[in-house]
């Protein structure tokens, strides 16, 4: 109990790694989500097939298996990744596949008349997407993106198994050094929960800010 503050420092270092992973993974997931989500709506068969294969593959196998595959099998093909890189890659690609379906659904939920209006205004496909469709679709995507980000946060705990010193890993270190199990695990459960609350709170305030300019639009 006396040296608990020292161990708490160790756990907080782990929290930083978890936050770092969550942020970088989310950025990659966001990029993949838009690439694959819009790829599934593409005019070109090849793009559609590629996007569908990516989404089905990463949703069909679990994050854990993907992470181990990236970390243990890719080096045999000559691609050596640090645990952090492997973690970000696996998390980003996995959550990106789930979020891609959100992007596709949100874009499709924008009414037909909006597309017709784009054509009537002589906007190109890309212009219409950029100025008319996406601003409305983004608002539909946001709440689900928030859930996806929380799923990503929770999935980061898996990287502790490839020896990346995140929250869960540090809790195990503290457990093996002190023999105390209740304190480290309760502490990290609370930290994870607080991080999840921060994400959902952040997404909700972002949603409010983005909805401001779209008063007249049905969402």
């Amino acid at each position: 109990m006396t040296q608990w503050s020292g161990y708490l420092g160790l756990i907080l270092q782990g929290a930083l790694v978890t936050i770092e992973l969550t942020l970088m993974g989310s950025v990659l997931a966001l990029i993949m989500a838009f690439l694959a989500g819009m790829g599934r709506l593409s005019r070109y068969f090849v793009l559609r097939a590629l996007a569908t294969a990516y989404i089905e593959f990463f949703r069909g196998t679990s994050i854990f298996v993907q992470l181990f595959w990236v970390y243990f099998v890719l080096p045999l093909a000559g691609i050596s990744l640090t645990p952090l890189q492997a973690g970000v890659l696996a998390l980003g690609l996995n959550v990106g596949a789930y979020a891609a379906e959100v992007v596709r659904g949100a874009i499709q939920s924008v009414g037909r008349e909006q597309y017709e209006a784009c054509i009537a205004l002589n906007l190109g496909r890309w212009q219409g997407m950029r100025h008319v469709i996406l601003p409305q679709a983004l608002l539909v995507m946001l709440p689900t993106f928030g859930n996806n980000a929380i799923e990503l946060l929770k999935a980061t705990s898996v990287v502790s198994l490839i020896s990346l010193a995140d929250l869960t890993f540090q809790a195990q270190v503290v457990r093996s050094q002190t023999g105390n199990t209740l304190m480290p695990f309760t502490t990290i459960l609370i930290i994870y929960f607080v991080l999840a609350l921060i994400i959902s709170w952040g997404v909700r305030s972002l949603e409010r800010r983005m909805a401001r300019g779209l008063d007249g639009v049905r969402v």
């Binding site: 196998t61 679990s62 045999l76 929250l167 869960t168």
Partner: protein, 219 residues
């Protein structure tokens, strides 16, 4: 490193052993999640606010924290309080509790979708609360939920590799032990991925059939 088919056939029986445990854990976990979810959904509707609030918070907490850490908690912390569980039991409890908080939302939506008139008719027929639930509400609420529940059970199936972290000898753990014995990662890890992909693709077909059979849950 090259792919070696002989090695694949050599390790196949071990992996099949793991698949059996994986499927067993999924089935038991699904049953538990179905029960826990119903209990949570009913408790959240309780007229006693202390009950509904505290169960609601607990469910939020479990949903906002990683399954891996919960498994550690059950496996490492509970023995301190005299509850010593075998790994598989601890794993099934972890899966059941975690996914129970998700299925609770499905139950909630399903119960809310039973028309008001049914409640009023039950009251008019002088049925007690217990009779109303067991004879009127639950039988009508369950069928539309089945596809959504099945969806979560498939998600649970993909999370079972986490059980390897608490020494359950399921598919992932068998693959890891094989890989560590022979220092060959490419075949075991790829096979695990392939197993999961194949079973998930089959379960997607099953899911489509369930959706067709029991109708879509209203969103």
């Amino acid at each position: 490193m090259d792919w070696d088919w002989n090695f694949v056939w050599e390790i196949m029986p071990t992996l099949i052993q793991g698949v059996k445990i994986t499927i067993l854990a999924t089935l038991l976990g699904s049953v538990l999640a179905a029960i826990v979810g119903l209990a949570i959904a009913l408790a959240r509707r309780s007229p006693n606010r202390a009950v509904s609030r505290s169960v609601g918070f607990l469910a939020e907490f479990i949903r906002g924290t990683p399954l891996l850490v919960q498994l550690y908690f059950i496996f490492y912390v509970l023995p301190d309080f005299g509850i010593l569980l075998p790994p598989l039991v601890a794993g099934v409890i972890g899966l059941g509790l975690h996914y129970g908080t998700y299925t609770a939302e499905v139950y909630r939506a399903g119960i809310d979708n039973v028309p008001r008139g049914q409640w009023e008719a039950a009251k008019a027929c002088n049925l007690s609360a217990g009779q109303t639930w067991s004879h009127i509400i639950i039988p009508q609420a369950i069928p539309p939920m089945i596809p959504a529940l099945a969806n979560y059970f498939i998600a649970m199936f993909k999370e079972t590799p986490l059980l390897s972290a608490i020494t359950v000898l399921e598919l992932m753990n068998q693959a890891k032990s094989v890989a560590n014995t022979y220092y060959r990662y490419i075949e075991p890890m790829t096979l695990v991925g392939a197993f999961f992909l194949v079973i998930s693709l089959f379960s997607v077909v099953l899911l489509r059939w369930l959706e067709h059979r029991y109708g879509k849950i209203e969103r």
